[in-house]
Symmetry: C2
Subunit: 317 residues, 2 copies
């Protein structure tokens, strides 16, 4: 029942949820979510990606794929709130030397650098660059359920010795059970304590365990907890913010404004056909520790022939 | 990775799921589920309630509210399978002295006696009666999230000294988090070891934790694990069998036949408008440790005004 002052709740709805609707949120949606998050006591709001405009055509995506400073300011002004603003920068897909202002000229507070484990050297270069610009940084190592222990330990050592502030355990494939997530979280926390870094957790809901894994890893010392409104996120989605806020006993956090937001903005989005959330096809790729791309295609095609999917995915291994 | 020989998987689809459709399953549905469960390695299949025909009109419900011997035999014959057949008998709603044959004349293997904690003395009377008829028995103490520790300990002592075979921890309101479920499970297991009883767990999915809580309590020594096809069950539903079978590493259990069943029988049921599963209104009653009846009414009325519901439920406390 005690309050953990290290806990930070991170709303990733626009960023991970943007993968469900090509980042095509209305301005009203984003503005309302910003206000909602502040009312709920959310600590960070991640707005989207800083994707390279050389690699991606601006006209092919909503603006939160790029998170231009003007776009951010049109929502948050100068962000006169206690909530911090985050964006994600993908290794290899971000023109980071051109697309970031110095922190003193930007409303962005934190840059989250996402990479696969073999890209850690490239991530470190970006982290140093963002740190030097004045930003808080995190490194979100994706798909670690497919990495082996020595790779992970080596990555944690490299990050430990860097200037990064937060190291994220990311269950990209929704493969972890609470027990395995907790085991790995303990390792991250151990390195975090050694190197004075905080640890974060980003869940996917393939086996309907996103919330359970989030609170389990939290109980083992993870501080940064990613969640999204109604779990909106790629494929099976993420940890639902409403479940997380209902769980946290800190009176700083409250649920009510989020319920209003869900009623007014999330339900219409679902009614329009934007799809995410737990379903059998995601369970299958999660159980098999596979990327959900085939399950996402199955969903997009409106298929429900789970047996064929199961056979296809099992053969494919 | 080792196999726990004490684990028993219990399919409660017809019984708990029957609360979603007034027990009006087609014969084909029930027969197919019976075959599916056998193929998947399920240990027990619960067919429904043995409800009193004095209290309930037969014409108001599907036949699995009553589980007559002929109805059971029309599905399972003499049940020439390793899977056992269970039915539920509710304290106060079961004409148990009239409605049960001796075990030697019945295909039923186990009678699960459901009661609230203040009804333990009545449950004990029924358990003794069923035991004397030759049945395996369990006692499913409902809504223990609202009972206090000394009540629970006293109930476990009384049951420990009885002839009951299995004692169930039942999270009727979907209130428990994995940590609290595990804590209580440890207490049940401790009493189980003292009195030589096995422990079961029956989850509800109000906070999307039914599966997580099931595998968590299992890791603390719970043996009987209730699950239902696609989580079909009252309100937010139960632990999904497909998630549980995917988790268990015992090669005795397999998933494939269940996927076929879901595709062929569960999806059409959902398409017909039979409703169950996690949703905000159930999360709210779960977080508040309340009976889901108001949330079920909200669902049945097709409402989505979560904020009004939240205010109503909070005021109501």
């Amino acid at each position: 029942m005690t309050v953990r002052p290290d806990i930070k709740v991170v709303d990733a709805t626009i960023r991970d949820g943007g993968l469900c609707n090509n980042f095509e949120f209305t301005d009203e949606f984003v503005k309302s979510l910003y206000k909602t998050n502040i009312e709920c006591g959310v600590d960070y709001m991640e707005f989207g990606y800083k994707a390279s405009k050389k690699l991606f055509n601006e006209s092919d995506f909503g603006k939160w794929k790029f998170c231009d400073e003007e776009a951010l300011r049109s929502v948050v002004g100068n962000n006169e709130s206690p909530m911090k603003i985050a964006v994600m920068a993908d290794v290899g897909r971000c023109d980071f030397r051109n697309d970031f202002l110095p922190k003193s000229e930007s409303v962005i507070d934190m840059v989250r650098v996402a990479c696969y484990i073999h890209q850690i050297p490239a991530a470190l270069e970006m982290i140093q660059y963002f740190h030097d610009l004045g930003y808080e940084t995190s490194c979100n190592i994706m798909a670690v359920s497919q990495a082996n222990e020595s790779q992970i330990e080596s990555a944690l050592d490299m990050l430990g010795q860097s200037c990064v502030d937060v190291i994220y355990l990311v269950d990209s494939y929704g493969y972890f059970y609470p027990e395995s997530a907790a085991e790995l979280a303990q390792k991250y926390v151990e390195y975090g304590e050694k190197y004075n870094k905080l640890i974060g957790f980003h869940a996917h809901n393939n086996q309907n365990l996103a919330f359970a894994n989030t609170i389990e890893t939290m109980s083992y010392g993870v501080s940064y907890l990613d969640a999204t409104a109604s779990g909106m996120g790629r494929g099976a989605g993420n940890c639902a913010m409403e479940l997380l806020l209902g769980f946290l006993r800190n009176p700083k956090y409250s649920l009510y404004a989020l319920l209003t937001f869900i009623e007014k903005y999330i339900l219409p989005l679902k009614a329009q056909g934007v799809k995410w959330g737990y379903d059998i096809q995601f369970m299958i790729t999660g159980q098999l520790n596979q990327h959900p791309r085939e399950a996402m295609k199955f969903t997009a095609d409106g298929r429900t022939d789970y047996c064929n999917f199961y056979k296809f995915i099992s053969d494919n291994e």
